[in-house]
């Protein structure tokens, strides 16, 4: 039964995506909507991304210092490990898990409310492809702005590591810089961005799917938001595993 329901849900998702991924009816309105979504979904998320990344960068630095400090280990290892964690996992996967909570629930409740108040029916009656009109700008906007969020997250994380080193004196800036630069591989940044773009698609499309298919009232909108965040998180973790395997081979 669970398998049947999952296949049915996936089929409905694909049918919706077929309606979403078509050329917009009016490009001018599409770009206007997309700019609005870039602001709503992306720019409004910058403070939380910076805040979380800064503190996580600091905490990773402290943990590394406490747990791997040994006379046998070079001092720059702390900076090196901090950089690798931030670049490879935190700034893409963990940051997108956080965004799934913030952006995903926002999208589901917005579209779900439009559904239960018949605004989507109103669009359909007018002859507007409501799925394309409402969902495509959100997908495009988050996919376009997520690389910037990833880079901001990386910078804030490194900034956090520096700050904790400077203010607590657990390590020198010189050691941290050496560690951050040690065997730097630019591809890791691209990997992180590619993964984040894929996760952005998952967050926006899955959250929109749950919102678009709400039936009932405000309670159902709330349930759909919760389901959307859970599904987005599970799919991000699963696709993280697949993408990491593909990109890091």
């Amino acid at each position: 039964m669970f398998l049947f329901d999952s296949v049915k849900t996936f089929g409905s998702y694909l049918i919706l995506m077929k309606r979403v991924i078509t050329p917009p009816q009016r490009w001018r309105i599409f770009f206007r909507q997309m700019m609005h979504e870039v602001y709503q979904l992306g720019v409004n998320s910058i403070p939380i991304v910076l805040l979380i990344s800064f503190f996580i960068g600091a905490v990773i630095c402290i943990q590394m210092k406490l747990n791997i400090e040994s006379p046998w280990m070079p001092k720059f290892v702390v900076g090196y490990a901090t950089r690798e964690i931030l670049l490879l996992e935190f700034s893409s996967s963990i940051m997108c898990l956080i965004l799934a909570g913030k952006v995903g629930s926002n999208i589901t409740s917005e579209i779900g409310t439009m559904r239960v108040t018949q605004q989507i029916d109103a669009l359909e009656i007018m002859g507007v492809n409501s799925a394309n009109f409402l969902i495509l700008p959100k997908i495009s906007a988050l996919m376009a702005i997520i690389p910037i969020l990833v880079v901001f997250s990386m910078a804030a994380g490194v900034g956090g590591a520096f700050a904790i080193g400077k203010f607590t004196g657990i390590m020198t800036a010189q050691d941290l810089i050496v560690g951050l630069q040690y065997e730097f591989n630019q591809w890791y940044i691209w990997c992180s961005i590619i993964k984040a773009i894929a996760f952005a698609f998952i967050i926006t499309s899955v959250a929109s799917f749950y919102g678009y298919n709400v039936k009932g009232g405000s309670i159902e909108v709330g349930k759909a938001s919760t389901n959307a965040v859970v599904s987005c998180s599970a799919l991000i973790l699963f696709s993280d595993m697949v993408l990491t395997q593909l990109l890091m081979q």
């Binding site: 009016r26 018949q118 605004q119 109103a122 002859g127 507007v128 492809n129």
Partner: protein
């Protein structure tokens, strides 16, 4: 003119519409009345195209909308205006932007022409002073008027209203009714109103369909409805003693 023929609609085991046939002429306000659960909303959704009936045909001036190609159907939808029960204005837009929306999407007018047309529609519904407000700042009646302005922005041939007076006081209901009736005659459009408001039936019912248990139980106009001997319709219309007395007085005064 909209013609429906032998419309059947079923939800799982329940047959909601049982072979309804009717003709809705243009320039007339056509009302669909009936108890809750009689199938009014489902019939209206079928006519508009939000639900597909299992059997039967629906034609708009001879064009079969059930078997129409998707592109043609999307184009034809621009000839339709709809007023929803809760107005369904877009929250993220101002009143003026709501009215401009169909023009933005489907007209080839310039920006100034679109603004001019949207303002003319708002003036027609006496709502020009609220053009910059957002929908949640408006009262229920004002929201309905804004939705009517949006519905007529593209100059539709067909206007559908789903319980336009629900949640409104009698005076405001009268304003909405007169607006719908006036627009119908002014633009010579085919209007179908789904209602169970008795004031609407008496005031603007040029053509009335009474549905009971998914069947067409009675058809006529607001003059004939007072003299009907249809028991189910009389029970529905004149359910209270006061209304029965009003009916008697109306018949005596004739």
């Amino acid at each position: 003119m909209i013609e429906i023929s032998s419309i059947h609609k079923r939800f799982e085991d329940q047959e909601v519409l049982k072979g309804i046939t009717a003709t809705f002429e243009n320039g007339k306000t056509n009302l669909i009345i009936g108890k809750s659960g009689a199938g009014k909303t489902v019939l209206l959704k079928c006519i508009v195209g939000l639900e597909i009936p299992e059997e039967g045909t629906i034609t708009y001036d001879g064009r079969d909308i059930i078997h129409m190609h998707k592109k043609e159907a999307a184009k034809m939808r621009q000839e339709i205006g709809m007023l929803f029960q809760n107005a369904a204005l877009f929250d993220s837009m101002s009143v003026l932007e709501n009215v401009m929306f169909p023009l933005d999407m489907f007209s080839s007018m310039t920006y100034n022409e679109r603004i001019k047309r949207a303002r003319a529609c708002l003036e027609r519904v006496n709502l020009i002073e609220a053009q910059d407000k957002s929908p949640e700042e408006l009262s229920g009646g004002m929201q309905k008027r804004a939705a009517i302005a949006r519905a007529i922005a593209l100059g539709p041939k067909y206007l559908f209203c789903d319980e336009p007076n629900s949640g409104l006081d009698p005076q405001t209901s009268l304003i909405i009714d007169e607006l719908i009736h006036g627009i119908t005659e002014e633009y010579n459009i085919t209007t179908i109103v789904n209602t169970h408001d008795m004031n609407s039936v008496m005031n603007i019912g040029d053509h009335i369909l009474f549905l009971a248990n998914g069947e067409l139980s009675w058809e006529g106009n607001n003059k004939e409805i007072l003299n009907t001997d249809n028991k189910t319709l009389n029970e529905f219309l004149f359910s209270s003693e006061i209304l029965r007395q009003v009916k008697e007085q109306a018949l005596h005064s004739k």
